[in-house]
Symmetry: C2
DNA sequence: TGTACATCAGTGAACGCGCGTTCACTGATGTAC
DNA sequence: TGTACATCAGTGAACGCGCGTTCACTGATGTAC
């Protein structure tokens, strides 16, 4: 049995809980991959784990709570994938690679496919920050934005405790939406149906 | 009673069919707007129209068929909204305006939220062409792409019977993904949670 | 070390609900002579 | 213009299925003395 670092200091019962929670999440991710968010079903997960449906309510308050956890994990994982890529092109490629490797998780972060699920609670917005920080770190400042926008950008940076200039913040944000445009269209098969190679398009954008 | 131009020459029964189909689609769109594609339900639509569920099978082969119709209509409607905007900035603004006014339809076109629904059948890909044509018409050619990409771009244009240069095709495609990135993030509330004004971002991109 | 007790994981039954789709059928609308 | 017939819209019952969540309960695991 291999214990993760967090598990070492835990009482046996807490350790068990952590492991079961992990297994539930893994099963949920498999379902997410196979049929999108609507396919993530408490009962189906329980079935997959060989357990009765209500048992899962010991580990997650309800279905939304589980989806929230999956989202938080995905933000963390994306930030990990971006961290340490090095320069801007490598970071951009890492972003695309992460999204392509797990499109269902990417969609969970950046597309509302779950009606009634608020993807922008304080907790979730905070979790998304880390990835933005990586972009900010690798991007060279661009042109100076007009005053109205500059004010919003610096306010945004200040709120997060970063002292970034408006041109740098703008460059990061712009890089983000450009890559997102490219990647999200790729994930949904739009380049494939046009027979264009998205990798070439990305290199061109960089 | 006001008849649409297509309805004038129709036999009464055909006319009735066309009208009911239209009412079904309208109800479906309302549900799409309220809860996304999963909320579009044959039974719920029938209920809304004051009719029994199976009745709708006279008008649509099944649920997927109905969703396909909604998608085709949306492509048409988007192309209409772009046509005649004039220059590039106006077209870009029209694109954003359309997406903001009916985000549920925009998502239907550019995000796979429906598991098991193939958004890239020949019919649907063909329907998406018109919007692309408008972009091609208003965009000035950009830099010349590398040979591999240029070949794909000209092949793509040729397949659609357009004689466009690779630089022009690239410029159109790039414009598309940049606006899509901006707009799709806006629709899903990402700029709002950062307190940035997407209208300013778009003007800056143009 | 042994015993009494508290905590907690998991069960099975139940609630109330919704879904897409088929089928045999009724009744109205249109068509042909 | 009237009659016989074909077409088609819509019904209601049924099939088989799934869902999230609650509740009272059993049995095992851990804790305190």
């Amino acid at each position: 049995v291999v214990l993760s670092t967090e598990e070492v200091g835990m009482a046996p019962r807490d350790r068990y809980r952590a492991q079961v929670r992990e297994e539930v999440k893994q099963a949920a991710l498999r379902q997410l991959a196979s049929g999108g968010p609507p396919a993530v079903s408490v009962n189906a997960i329980a079935r997959e784990l060989g357990v009765s449906g209500p048992a899962l309510y010991r580990y997650f308050a309800n279905r939304d709570d589980l989806l929230t956890e999956l989202t938080l994990d995905a933000y963390d994982d994306l930030a990990d994938a971006l961290t340490g890529a090095g320069d801007l092109p490598a970071t951009a490629r890492a972003y695309r690679a992460w999204a392509l490797a797990q499109p269902h998780r990417y969609r969970l972060l950046f597309a509302v496919a779950v009606p009634g699920f608020d993807a922008h609670t304080e907790r979730l917005v905070a979790a998304s920050q880390r990835s933005m920080d990586v972009l900010l770190a690798v991007v060279p400042p661009g042109p100076r934005p007009p005053p109205a926008l500059a004010a919003q950008l610096t306010a945004w940076a200040a709120r997060r405790g970063l002292d970034t200039t408006a041109p740098a913040a703008l460059a990061a944000v712009r890089l983000w939406w450009r890559i997102h445009g490219l990647v999200s269209l790729e994930i949904d098969g739009n380049w494939a149906s046009m027979d264009l190679d998205p990798a070439l398009l990305l290199e061109l954008e960089l």
